[in-house]
């Protein structure tokens, strides 16, 4: 019965003097109103529970820091804290699933799909077939070295053994093969980029 008589203001001041039971009385007195208010906004028991807890953590911190100066208006003050935390909750939830691309940093600049899309795959095929046609135009000895090196992944030592020429000759043929291909590409303005 005594609990009903003691005003919020007195309970707050005795809590500030170190009486923890005053806080318990205050919470028990107002918990239903505060919790119902929060639940009426968030419609989720767990979220309401979290917001309720955060509300009182903020209340406790403010009181213990001696920053509370609204004597006699304890409940409206707590309700305002709860209201602000509900707004914070919705702000946070709105922000989380969205990727805001208007800022300086874009998440898509660091995230990319390494697989090629349909257009790039077609371009890649096109480039590869163009390169093969260019190789077909090369003199037979150069073509042989280039195919062994680039497509069969053979070393120049292996190429020299296979073709019966020295390594230096194989290297020279490879070099001329590339020079000749570049010449043809430049001459016909062939674009070989993806």
């Amino acid at each position: 019965m005594r609990q009903e008589i003691i005003s919020d203001a007195i309970l707050v001041s005795s809590y500030l003097k170190g009486d923890e039971t005053s806080l318990e009385i205050l919470i028990k007195r107002h918990k239903q109103r505060i919790y119902s208010f929060i639940y009426s906004k968030v419609y989720d028991r767990d979220v309401a529970e979290d917001v309720f807890q955060d509300t009182f953590i903020k209340v406790i911190k403010t009181l213990k820091r001696g920053k509370y100066n609204e004597e006699g208006k304890f409940l409206p003050w707590v309700m305002r804290i709860a209201h602000n935390l509900v707004i914070d909750h919705f702000r946070k939830n709105n922000r989380m699933p969205k990727f805001d691309n208007s800022g300086e940093f874009s998440i898509f600049s660091v995230l990319c799909d390494s697989s090629l899309n349909a257009e790039k795959a077609i371009i890649k095929d096109q480039v590869e077939s163009d390169v093969r046609r260019l190789i077909e135009e090369l003199p037979e000895d150069q073509k042989e070295v280039l195919v062994m090196r680039m497509y069969q992944d053979m070393s120049f030592k292996e190429i020299s053994e296979r073709t019966g020429v020295s390594i230096n000759t194989a290297l020279g043929r490879m070099r001329y093969a590339l020079i000749n291909m570049r010449k043809v590409i430049e001459k016909h303005n062939i674009i070989l980029t993806n």
Binding site: Y35, S36, Y39, E49, Q53
Partner: protein, 47 residues
Amino acid sequence: MAKLYSQNPKKDKKLNPKDETIRFILNYSKALSVINYKNMEFEALLN
């Protein structure tokens, strides 16, 4: 069959936070102490 209108609609239970939450808050309050030292403020949680 006639509908019974005399029956009271179910009243929603009053919404209250879990006892667990209240207990947490009270324990938090007991554990928290704010220390002021030369215009500086420190929070200490002593469990």
